[in-house]
Symmetry: C2
Subunit: 327 residues, 2 copies
C-alpha cells in the first residue's frame, strides 16, 4: 500500500481512514492520507475487503426472460439506491418459469456470492425458499401489509370501480393479470370485493397473462347479450387488446363500453381512444424495494413506506357514462 508510505503512516491507518472516513483520527494524519490518496488516485480494493469481511456488498437482481419489456426506471432507481448505500447490483437473468427462478436463487444463496436478492418477478413461497436470507420481491412488495397498509395496490382498483359505478355502470368484466403475480391477485380480489360492497355485478373474470392477446380474447369471447358496459383490464397492454376486439365487434369505446388500463404507459395517452389508466411511480417503487432489502441485509428495522401514494388515477377518453345514461 503505497499510500501509507507516501503519507508516512501504516496501511492499517489508511484502512481505518477508509472504513470510518477518518472518525477518531488525528487531523494531521487524515490530512496526509488525503493528500497521498489524491496524488496516487488510489481506490481501496473492494474485492480484498470483501474477502476479509465475508461481506460481498453485492445484491443480485433476478430478472425473468419472459417479459417483453420491463420498467427500466425501477431497475435504475434500485441500482442508484444500492450504490448510494455501498452495494453493487448483480444481474441474474433467468430463462424459464418460477421453478428455474427458485433454483437459481437457491444457487445464489448457496454460493454466498451475494448479501441479498431482489426479484423482479414472483418466486412463490419465500419462507421455504430462503429462510432468514434477505430477499425482496418487487412484484410482491404490495403483499407486505406491514409496510404498505392493507391493499395498497388495491385502492386504485376500488376507486376505478367506484368511479365507473358513479357513471351508471352496473355490470363489469375484469381481465386479470397472471395469477402468479400478487399485484394481479390483489387487483382481482379488490375488484370482486368492491363489486360486492357496492352491490354491483361482475359478469366474470377472464384469466389473463398480462398480454394484449388475453384482453383481445376476453372481449371476443363475450356473449352479445352479456350486458357488460365496463372492462377493468389488469394493464395498459391488456387494455390495448380489449380496444382492438371491441372495435372488431363494432362496440364503440366509451359509448358502448368503458375501458380502464393500468401502468399509464406513453401509448395510453396516444391510443385511440386514449386510455384511462393508473400511473405508477416506478422510481419510488424501485428505490423503496431496495431500501427494504438493504435494511434486511443489515438486520435493521424496515424503512417507513412513503406516505404519499405511488398510484394515481388518470381519466381519459376510454371511460364514460354507461350507455343508458347517455343523452
Amino acid at each position: 500500500m503505497d499510500v501509507a508510505r507516501l503519507a508516512g503512516t501504516s496501511h492499517e491507518t489508511v484502512s481505518r481512514y477508509f472504513r470510518y472516513s477518518g472518525m477518531g483520527m488525528k487531523a494531521a494524519t487524515i490530512q496526509r492520507i488525503e493528500t497521498a490518496v489524491k496524488q496516487l488516485d488510489y481506490h481501496p480494493n473492494l474485492i480484498a475487503r470483501s474477502m476479509r469481511t465475508r461481506v460481498t456488498g453485492r445484491i443480485a437482481v433476478v430478472l425473468p426472460a419472459s417479459t417483453q419489456s420491463m420498467p427500466s426506471r425501477l431497475l435504475t432507481a434500485a441500482s442508484v439506491t444500492a450504490h448510494e448505500n455501498g452495494f453493487s447490483l448483480e444481474i441474474v437473468g433467468v430463462e424459464g418459469g418460477m421453478a428455474s427462478r427458485r433454483k437459481r436463487i437457491q444457487e445464489l444463496i448457496g454460493w454466498g456470492q451475494v448479501d441479498g436478492v431482489m426479484s423482479i418477478s414472483p418466486v412463490g413461497d419465500v419462507s421455504e425458499l430462503a429462510p432468514g436470507f434477505p430477499l425482496v420481491v418487487t412484484a410482491e412488495y404490495d403483499d407486505d401489509m406491514r409496510a404498505l397498509g392493507a391493499l395498497a395496490d388495491g385502492s386504485p382498483t376500488a376507486e376505478i370501480i367506484e368511479s365507473l359505478a358513479e357513471l351508471g355502470h352496473r355490470r363489469f368484466l375484469h381481465v386479470a393479470g397472471s395469477p402468479s403475480w400478487s399485484s394481479a391477485r390483489n387487483r382481482r380480489a379488490v375488484y370482486l370485493e368492491t363489486i360486492t360492497r357496492l352491490g354491483l355485478e361482475s359478469f366474470g373474470i377472464a384469466d389473463g397473462d398480462w398480454s394484449a392477446e388475453s384482453g383481445f380474447d376476453a372481449i371476443m369471447n363475450l356473449p352479445h347479450d352479456s350486458g357488460v358496459t365496463a372492462v377493468f383490464a389488469a394493464s395498459d397492454v391488456v387494455a390495448i387488446g380489449v380496444l382492438r376486439a371491441a372495435r372488431l365487434r363494432e362496440w364503440s369505446v366509451p359509448e358502448d363500453l368503458s375501458v380502464w388500463g393500468w401502468d399509464d404507459l406513453e401509448i395510453a395517452r396516444f391510443s385511440t381512444p386514449a386510455l384511462s389508466s393508473v400511473n405508477v411511480d416506478r422510481e419510488a417503487q424501485g428505490r423503496h424495494s431496495m431500501l427494504r432489502l438493504i435494511a434486511k441485509v443489515r438486520s435493521e428495522p424496515e424503512p417507513e413506506f412513503p406516505s404519499y401514494s405511488l398510484n394515481r388515477l388518470v381519466v381519459r377518453e376510454s371511460t364514460g357514462p354507461a350507455p343508458d345514461r347517455r343523452a
Copy 2:
C-alpha cells in the same frame, strides 16, 4: 479447505481440479475430490480467486434512467450468455444524460472492479473514453461494420421504402429517433439514401426522441398540402403517436396515409389499425453483444456475426397503396 482433507489430497490439487476441471489429473484423485465436493456441497470462493488472479469475472451493464421501458429480453440474454462464460453481470443505473454515463464508466474502469463494460445506451466517442478497455455499446452495435456488414440496421429501412414505392407512394416523411443513438442515425441515413436512389421525394425528417409525442407532433405540424402519403416512424411507440395525430386530422390510415413502425411490440399487432413493423430479435442482439464483449475481455478475435438477419419486416393494416392507386 476441508475438501482437500476429506479427499486425502492438498488444496492446490483441489484448486487445479476446479480450474481445469480435472484435465491432466489422475482419475482416482478426481474421483475422490468429486465425492468430497458433493458430500460437503463445496463451492470455490470466487472472491478469493478473483483477488489472486486480479480478474474480477465481472461485467458492468450500464443502464440509462431515462427510458420508460427497456427490452429485458436483451438484458436477460446478455446475462445468460455472460454466466455461461463464467462472468457475472453488475447493473449500473445512471441517472442523467450521456455525460454522466461517461463519467460513471470512467469510474468503473478506474476502480478496476470489472473486466468489461456493456452499455445499453449511447456513450459517445468510445476511443477517447476507454482506450484499450473492453467496452461494447449495444445500441451502437450496428456501427461495427466489420461484424455486421455495412448498414445491417439500414437494410430493413431500404426494404420498407422500396415496398412503399411499389405501392405507388412518392412523397415520404420520416420521424427520426434520438440522434445520439446510432440506430436512429442509421435509419435516417438509409432513408435518405433510398429515397434518392429510387428517385422519390422526402418531404422532410422530423427530429424525434423515440417518444409517441414526437410522432404526434410531426403529423400535427404537417401542412395540409404536403402531399405526404407514407410515414416511416423510427419506432412503434413513435408510430402510435403518428396514428393518433392522423386520426385527429381525419386522415385515414392506410387509405390516406401509410405508416411503418419498428420493434414489433405486442401493441403493434393490436393497435387500430394494426401497425406494420420490423421485428427485432432482441435475444440474439443481447447474446451477441455479450459474446463480442467477452471476446474483447479475453483478447480473442471477435465472434462471427450470425448470418441470418435479426430484423424481419411484418406487414399489417397500416400500410396500403398510395391514395391515387386506390380503386
